[in-house]
Structures are given as structure tokens and as C-alpha cells.
């Protein structure tokens, strides 16, 4: 059952990486958003899929009556979703600020940290 979803996740990764390799910062951001989803689903799927039985214990029992979905990857992914979202927001603002400072959305033109005509390292002691 996991195979089909695995292929879909592969497609998610492909699109994310292709967008990340763009030089336009907006598309890099889109890529990051998709990459987050891809990774979350990767972890989710690696913990095996189960249909229709959520990891919740019925009201009158101490343990679930039937085999439920694996709760552990769900717990991992739940926090991962929130964190990847907050980081996405951070990167979004970062990119926006970078655009304002440098006036370009081309990452190759943003050269404040690594200026083009960087002088040679100093010789001597």
C-alpha cells in the first residue's frame, strides 16, 4: 500500500528540488514549502500506513480493540508541521527583507556576504 504514496512523495521531492535550484528567490520559497510537506509525508509513510483506524482508544477500553495507525510518526510529524511552518514564515520574511535590501530577487545577484571582487587573503603575520 505504501508504494504508490512513495512514488508520489518522490514526485514531491523532485518538484521541490527543481524549484530550489531556481535563481528566483520566490520559487526557492515555494520549493521549501513543498520540501517540508515531502519530508513530513516521508516520515509518515516510513511508519507504515493504516486506513480508517486513528490511534485513539475507545471510551470504554484501556487499549484499542483493533490495530490502530502507528501513533509515533504522527506525533513526530505533528510537531514537524508546525515547526516547518514557522521556519517557512521566517524564511519568507528573510527573503522579503533580502529583496528590500538588495533590490533583486535573483539569488546570484545577492552578494553582500560573498562580494564579487573579494580581495586575496592577506600575506604575512
Amino acid at each position: 500500500m505504501e508504494t504508490g504514496l512513495a512514488i508520489l512523495i518522490g514526485l514531491f521531492f523532485t518538484v521541490a528540488v527543481y524549484l530550489l535550484l531556481s535563481k528566483s528567490i520566490v520559487r526557492i520559497l515555494l520549493g521549501i514549502a513543498i520540501l517540508g510537506n515531502a519530508v513530513n509525508m516521508l516520515i509518515f509513510t516510513a511508519g507504515r500506513l493504516t486506513r480508517e483506524v486513528p490511534p485513539v482508544i475507545p471510551n470504554d477500553l484501556y487499549v484499542p480493540a483493533e490495530a490502530t495507525a502507528n501513533p509515533l510518526p504522527q506525533a513526530l510529524v505533528l510537531t514537524a508541521i508546525v515547526i516547518s511552518f514557522s521556519f517557512f514564515a521566517f524564511l519568507l520574511v528573510l527573503a522579503f527583507r533580502a529583496y528590500q535590501e538588495t533590490g533583486t530577487d535573483d539569488v546570484n545577484e545577492m552578494r553582500i556576504a560573498e562580494p564579487k571582487d573579494d580581495p586575496a587573503p592577506p600575506q604575512g603575520y
Binding site: M1, V17, P71, N108
Partner: protein
């Protein structure tokens, strides 16, 4: 060998080794309080250490050895363990004994210096490192202290850090000795692998195991690399004279008994393990002999007192290595004696040179003369030390020279060549000794930059005590031989040795004749000193290149190379970095599968329900739409579509919590994206040339396909459900919660969640900060706008 006893004073021994580090912490405060007189209380520390180790002398003389062990990193077999035998005791005594007087001397020499406290501190750090080195029993501990000496000597040599020459000398010493230290570490690790032993005492119990081992040659080369760089053997000798840029107390300490002797110590310590082989007796005497000759010849060329002494130190180290290399018992005895003698007279002479410099304002021997009346005590000390250095009776230097001639004369191989080298070297050393001790004091009074007069007690106590010690040790021949030289020789040979020293040779033998030849040759050369100096200078100028210049060229080449390399790999193109990263990721998931046959089995055609297929289809449509989006609105909406599809997938596969969360997150993402994107005047359209699009496309498909295949392979493996079963089973019975996911988050793995919400909180702060950074200047501008002139505004910015 007698069995190793556990040191009954383990704690005190370890405290003694660590005491200098505590003193280093206290020294600056004490100096601030008492000024240069802080030297007096501070000198108590090394004196106390001296007393402690002196207490071991009688036991050690009876061939007993001790170890003091405290756990450090026991999981790796690394202990703070110290080994006390003849070799380490004598070294510890020299370090702490000479150290006591160095501290006093530093008090006088650096009097009034703004950073005197720091200077004391560095000296103590070095002293502690050196003590740990010579006493270190655990190989890794020994290495740590070894590198600590390199680092602390860097601090000491570069003490006058405002002078470029000092900085260069410090860097040079650190590069050469630190680099050698890395070789040493490799050598130690090989020894540990070869023998399975990490403690020196354990290795020495079975000393022959390494000599026939397959790893002997690499171990030998690596250990030699460490020892030769530290002890300034040719062709690594150049750092030592350059290190004379340091204040004189440093030179007197580092280059007499400590730092540079560490390499010799190591060779001596390793002698039972590695020594005596053909390789050993060939390589060591060869390099030692060359170093001896090069050192003395270069010393003659100098006119600076300290540089002259520095080059003779190089020569003496060469002599010691040569003798250790000869490996016969007599030669080793000569090495031990000469090491002892050298530590005393060289320490004293360096301090004399410093005192002259301090009092007269120059240490150029051609500008000095007639100081004997002004500085009688220093003159006397200089004479005593120089006589010992020249190898004249009745000084310890004489006995050492007799024994070492005996050793070279009776060497198993190349006795003639070794003897001639030793005679020439010793004769030139006599020349230098005479030049240092006599030239500045005798003859016409020369006008010096400062009106010279006798230094204070702090300055002359060291030279006097050390030079007198050289005399006393020679007069008390029996005691010196029994308590100091004999035990140390035993450590070198590996079995108890008895040493009977004689001050007056009972009959005329070869060494005595050689001594006479040495003295005659030395005196003859001394009379021709100026001509000799001019001659050597001419030859050296003709060559015009030396390892010192080579060092500069190597460093310059390295800087250029690393600059070019940095520019190559960090070209400043984001796409290059990203591409490299993803190529590596693709390779790391694809290549092992290709090589190791880890591909998953061909899966069955997946059985999904109709609605599941349609959700997948929605996701694919969303993805493709993001990829080809021509406007930002399309891009945002398509991103939302794939996000909601993901939420539906979570829903279908029994993860309602995830589905809700994903749904909310996607909603907020779209809102936030829309808020930001409307402010950006950007075309999200991708314009890549066809070639680039193809290349990046291949890489992305590689990553995607690789990860998909990996995931399929993972899901085909048997699954370990134990953790999930635990959580499911105890979710209600232990944690009273029916929603297992939530129970894991807030109860079972609560600390993880605590960390995660801390991250969320922090990103919130970061976003706020990022936005504030821009808005603040605008707000500040507003109130100013009306009142201030534009010029003032520009100034304010």
C-alpha cells in the same frame, strides 16, 4: 625491571602537576596587588613541586618506579596518569628547579611591564604543560600536554605581540611543533593499535614487542617527526633561533631545560621500546650530527648574545640526539650527563645574556665590553656557566664531555665520524661560551646605550644558583651519579644501571686526549673569531636560502592556494552550492542501492480506492501547477492545492490530528504568502536556459527517484513496532489519555515538545526582529524631519 608501585601520594603528585595551572590563574591578581615582587610568593609553587619530586629521589635511585592514576575519560582508556622513574624525576626536578629561578628572574626582568601578570600566567601554564609531558604515563595524556606546550610556547614567544617578528616567530614555532605533535599523535595511536597498551608503564614492561612489529617503521618515523620538530633538529632547526624574539626569561626556560628538550625526552623515553635497531642507530646519529655541526657553525656567525646561545642550543640538542642514537650504554650515559649539564649552564647563560641586555641596553656582542667592574656577580656566574659549557674541569660539563667522548669513541659503528663531529662541535661551543662570557666583560669599557650596573637580587639569583649547581654537581660526583644520573640511565636502558662518575680521570685515555684536542682547537678558533665569523657570513650570503626562508615560502604558498581554493568552491553562486548539495544527496541514496543491490523488490500494483486515486491526482495537479505557474497568484493557489491534498492524505490514512494541523498550516501559509507576495514586485516565472533546465531537472529527478526507491525499500523491510506498541498499551493505563498522539506529545515525549515549542517561540522572535530592523530608522526619522537640517540628519545616521 622492578614492578611498578602505586604512588602512595597519588593525590599530591597529581596536584603537584596541576599546581602551575592554579598558579597561572592567581598570578595576574597577585601581580596587580604586589607588582613585580609577586615573583617571591609565586616562586613558592615551583619550589614546592621541586621538593615533592625530590622526595622520590632516594626511592627511584633504588630502581623503584611509581604511577599515580586518576580517571579522566575512562571510557576511552584515557587517564590522568603519571609515571615516576629516573628519567621523569630528573626532568621534573630540572623543570621545577629552573622554573623557580625563572619566575624570580621574570619578576626582575619584566619589572614595570604592563602585562607582567599575564607573563607570569603564561610561564606557569607552560610549566604545568611541561611537567605533565615529562611525567605523562598515558600516551594520550602525554600528547595533550605535548600540544599544550606548543600552544603555551606560542603565547610566550609571541608575548610582544605588537612586533611582527614576534608574531612570525610564534606562528612558526606553533606550526612546526604543533604539526610535529600531530605526527606524534598518529605514532601513539599506531603504538596503541600495535600493542593494545595505552600506558607507558605497561609498554615498558614488555619493551621488545614493538621492535619486531610490522608497524615499527611507520611508528619510528612518526615519533621521530614529533621529536625532531620539537627539539629543533635539522632541517626543522630554524624555529628555535627565531623564538629568541621572546623576552629572555622565556628563552632561558624554554631553550635550556624544557620545551626543546621535550623531543629529546621523548626519544629517551622511547629508547627501550624503539631504540637499538639498525634504523635507530643510523638515522638519529646522522641527523643529530648534522644538527650539531650546523648549529655551532651558525652560532659563530651571530653577534647577538641570545642568538649565539640559541644556535648552540640547537647544536646541543643535535649532540643529545646523536648520543641517544648511538644507543650504547656509555653514549646514553653521556647523553644523560650532557642533558643535565646543559640545562644548568644554558639556563644560567641565557639569564646572563638577559641581564646584560636589561642593564646595558644591548646584547650585541660587538657593542659590549669591559662590564666586569659594573657587574661582578653576573660576570662570575657567566664564567662558571661558560666553563661548564666549554667542558673544562672541575665542572659537570667536563664530566659529561669525558663520558660522551667515551661513548662516541666506542660507538659500534662510524665511531671515527661521530667522534670528529663531537670534537668539532664541542670546540665551536667552547668558542661561543668564551665569546658570551668573556667578550662583554673583559677588554676596554665600551659605551653602552644604558649605564650598566649590577642587576637586583631577582636578576642574578638564577644565574648564580644554576652555575654554582653545575660546580657542586661535579664535585659531589658520587651523589650525582647515584641519585640523578644512574636512575635516569636505567630508564633509558631499560634495566638498572650503576653510574660511577669520576671528576679526575685516573689515567690518560682517549677521551682525555680528545678533550685536550677540543680545548686547543677551541682556543685557536677563538683567537680567529672575527675572521671565522666573516667567512661563515660570506658563505651563507652566497647560498642565500635556508629553511627559514622556505617556511615563509610554504606559508605564502598555502595562503595563496587556500585563497584560490576558497574562490573555487565558494564562487558566491547559490545555485552551485545547491546543485552540489543535491548531487551529493542523489548520489548518497542512489549509489549504495546500485552497488549493493539494495533496490526494493518489484512491488505489486498498488491497490487504492477511487477517492484515494483522486486525492493523489489533486496533489500531482497542484505540484505541476506550482512548477509552471506564470503569476504569483497561480503559484500561491497551486501551493495551497498541494498542501490541502497532503492534509487529505493524512486524513485518509487515519491521522486526523495531522490532517487538522496541516489544514490550518496551509491556510495560514496561503494567507502569509499572499501578504508578503503582494509586496514583492516579482515574476515567479522561471527562466532557465534549456541546458540548465535539463541538468537541474535530471538532478531533481535523481533526488526524487532515489528517495522514493529508498522509501519503498524501507517499507519492504520488517517493521519494528515495539515503541509504538508501548505507547499504545500504556497511553490510557499510565497517562490517562485516549488520544495516543497527544499523549506522546505532552506526556511520554514531553521534553521533546518543550524543545520544539521553544523553537517556535524563537522563530516568532526572529521574524519580529527581522521586520523591526527596517522599520526603526524610519520611525526615528519622523520626529527629526521637521526640526533638523538635512546635514544634521545625515550625521545622525
Amino acid at each position: 625491571m622492578t614492578p611498578v608501585a602505586i604512588d602512595s601520594n597519588t593525590l599530591i603528585t597529581i596536584l603537584a602537576v596541576l599546581a602551575p595551572f592554579f598558579a597561572a590563574a592567581v598570578a595576574p591578581f597577585l601581580t596587580r596587588l604586589m607588582g613585580h615582587n609577586a615573583a617571591w610568593p609565586l616562586a613558592i609553587v615551583p619550589a614546592g613541586i621541586f621538593m615533592h619530586f625530590a622526595g622520590y629521589v632516594p626511592a627511584v635511585a633504588e630502581a623503584q618506579t611509581f604511577v599515580a592514576i586518576r580517571d579522566w575519560a575512562p571510557a576511552y582508556g584515557i587517564n590522568l596518569s603519571f609515571y615516576i622513574d629516573g628519567l621523569s624525576t630528573l626532568f621534573a626536578l630540572l623543570i621545577s628547579g629552573i622554573g623557580t629561578f625563572i619566575i624570580l628572574y621574570a619578576g626582575g626582568y619584566m619589572k614595570g611591564h604592563a602585562q607582567q601578570g599575564r607573563f607570569f600566567s603564561f610561564l606557569f601554564l607552560f610549566m604545568g604543560a611541561m611537567l605533565g609531558l615529562v611525567l605523562g604515563n598515558n600516551l594520550i595524556t602525554l600528547f595533550v600536554f605535548w600540544e599544550l606546550t606548543s600552544i603555551t610556547s606560542f603565547l610566550l614567544i609571541g608575548f610582544n605581540h605588537l612586533k611582527e617578528r614576534s608574531r612570525r616567530a610564534a606562528v612558526q614555532a606553533l606550526v612546526v611543533t604543533g604539526g610535529g605533535g600531530l605526527l606524534l599523535l598518529a605514532g601513539f595511536i599506531l603504538i596503541i593499535t600495535a600493542t593494545g597498551q595505552i600506558e607507558m608503564s605497561a609498554l615498558l614492561r614488555d619493551p621488545d614487542v614493538l621492535k619486531d612489529h610490522a608497524l615499527y617503521v611507520p611508528i619510528f618515523i612518526l615519533i621521530l617527526g614529533g621529536a625532531f620538530t620539537k627539539s629543533a633538529q635539522f632541517p626543522f632547526h630554524f624555529w628555535l633561533p627565531n623564538a629568541m624574539e621572546a623576552p629572555t626569561p622565556v628563552s632561558a626556560f624554554l631553550h635550556s631545560a624544557t620545551m626543546v628538550k621535550a623531543g629529546v625526552y621523548l626519544l629517551m623515553r622511547m629508547h627501550p621500546l624503539l631504540g637499538g635497531t639498525e634504523l635507530w642507530t643510523t638515522v638519529l646519529p646522522l641527523f643529530g650530527g648534522i644538527t650539531l655541526l650546523v648549529g655551532t657553525i651558525l652560532a659563530v656567525r651571530q653577534t647577538d648574545l641570545k642568538l649565539m646561545l640559541a644556535y648552540t642550543t640547537v647544536a646541543s640538542l643535535g649532540l643529545l640526539v646523536m648520543l641517544t642514537g648511538v644507543s650504547s650504554e656509555r653514549a646514553l650515559e653521556g647523553a644523560v650527563l650532557y642533558l643535565f649539564a646543559h640545562s644548568l649552564f644554558k639556563g644560567a647563560l641565557f639569564m646572563v645574556a638577559g641581564t646584560i641586555d636589561h642593564e646595558a641596553g644591548t646584547r650585541d656582542v660587538t657593542k659590549l665590553g669591559g662590564l666586569r667592574k659594573a657587574m661582578p656577580v653576573t660576570f662570575a656566574a657567566a664564567c662558571l656557566a661558560a666553563l661548564s659549557m666549554s667542558g673544562l674541569p672541575p665542572f659537570i660539563g667536563f664530566i659529561a664531555k669525558e663520558v660522551l667522548y667515551y661513548g662516541t669513541w666506542g660507538a659500534p659503528a662510524a665511531a671515527m665520524a661521530l667522534t670528529v663531529t663531537a670534537v668539532v662541535g664541542n670546540a665551536l661551543m667552547l668558542v661561543i661560551a668564551a665569546a658570551v662570557a668573556l667578550k662583554p666583560f673583559l677588554g676596554e669599557k665600551v659605551k653602552t646605550p644604558k649605564e650598566a650596573h649590577e642587576g637586583p637580587l631577582l636578576l642574578f639569583s638564577g644565574p648564580v644558583v644554576l652555575s654554582v649547581a653545575g660546580l657542586v654537581a661535579a664535585l659531589a660526583t658520587t651523589a650525582t651519579g647515584f641519585y640523578l644520573i644512574g636512575p635516569m640511565l636505567s630508564s633509558l636502558v631499560g634495566e638498572p644501571q650503576e653510574v660511577k662518575l669520576v671528576l679526575i680521570p685516573p689515567y690518560i685515555n682517549a677521551p682525555l686526549i680528545l678533550s685536550v684536542i677540543t680545548i686547543a682547537l677551541g682556543v685557536a678558533l677563538y683567537t680567529q673569531l672575527d675572521r671565522l665569523r666573516a667567512l661563515i657570513k660570506g658563505v651563507l650570503d652566497a647560498i642565500g636560502w635556508g629553511p627559514d626562508k622556505g617556511f615563509d615560502q610554504v606559508i605564502a604558498g598555502l595562503v595563496t592556494l587556500s585563497g584560490a581554493f576558497t574562490r573555487l568552491v565558494q564562487g558566491g553562486k547559490m545555485q552551485t552550492y545547491m546543485l552540489a548539495t543535491f548531487v551529493v544527496i542523489a548520489a548518497s541514496v542512489l549509489v549504495p542501492g546500485y552497488l549493493g543491490g539494495g533496490w526494493p523488490a518489484m512491488p505489486d500494483f498498488p491497490e487504492y480506492r477511487f477517492y484515494e486515486w483522486s486525492v493523489f491526482l489533486i496533489a500531482v495537479i497542484g505540484l505541476i501547477a506550482v512548477l509552471i505557474a506564470k503569476s504569483r497568484l497561480t503559484a500561491i493557489v497551486s501551493l495551497g492545492i498541494q498542501g490541502f491534498a497532503v492534509a487529505l492524505i493524512f486524513m485518509m490514512f487515519a491521522a486526523p490530528d495531522l490532517a487538522f494541523t496541516q489544514l490550518m498550516v496551509e491556510t495560514l501559509s496561503v494567507v502569509i504568502l499572499a501578504l508578503v507576495m503582494t509586496r514583492l514586485n516579482l515574476q515567479p516565472r522561471d527562466r532557465r536556459p534549456w541546458g540548465a533546465a535539463l541538468a537541474t531537472g535530471v538532478v531533481s529527478i535523481g533526488v526524487g527517484a532515489g528517495l522514493a526507491l529508498t522509501l519503498i525499500a524501507i517499507t519492504q523491510q520488517p517493521f519494528d513496532l515495539r515503541l509504538s506498541e508501548f505507547f499504545t498499551e500504556y497511553s490510557y493505563s499510565l497517562a490517562f489519555g485516549r488520544n495516543i498522539v497527544n499523549v506522546i506529545l505532552v506526556d511520554f515525549r514531553g521534553i521533546d515538545t518543550l524543545g520544539e515549542i521553544a523553537v517556535v517561540c524563537l522563530t516568532g522572535l526572529c521574524v519580529l526582529a527581522l521586520i523591526r530592523v527596517r522599520t526603526r530608522p524610519d520611525k526615528e526619522e519622523e520626529p527629526e524631519a521637521g526640526a533638523d537640517t538635512p546635514a544634521k540628519k545625515a550625521e545622525a545616521r
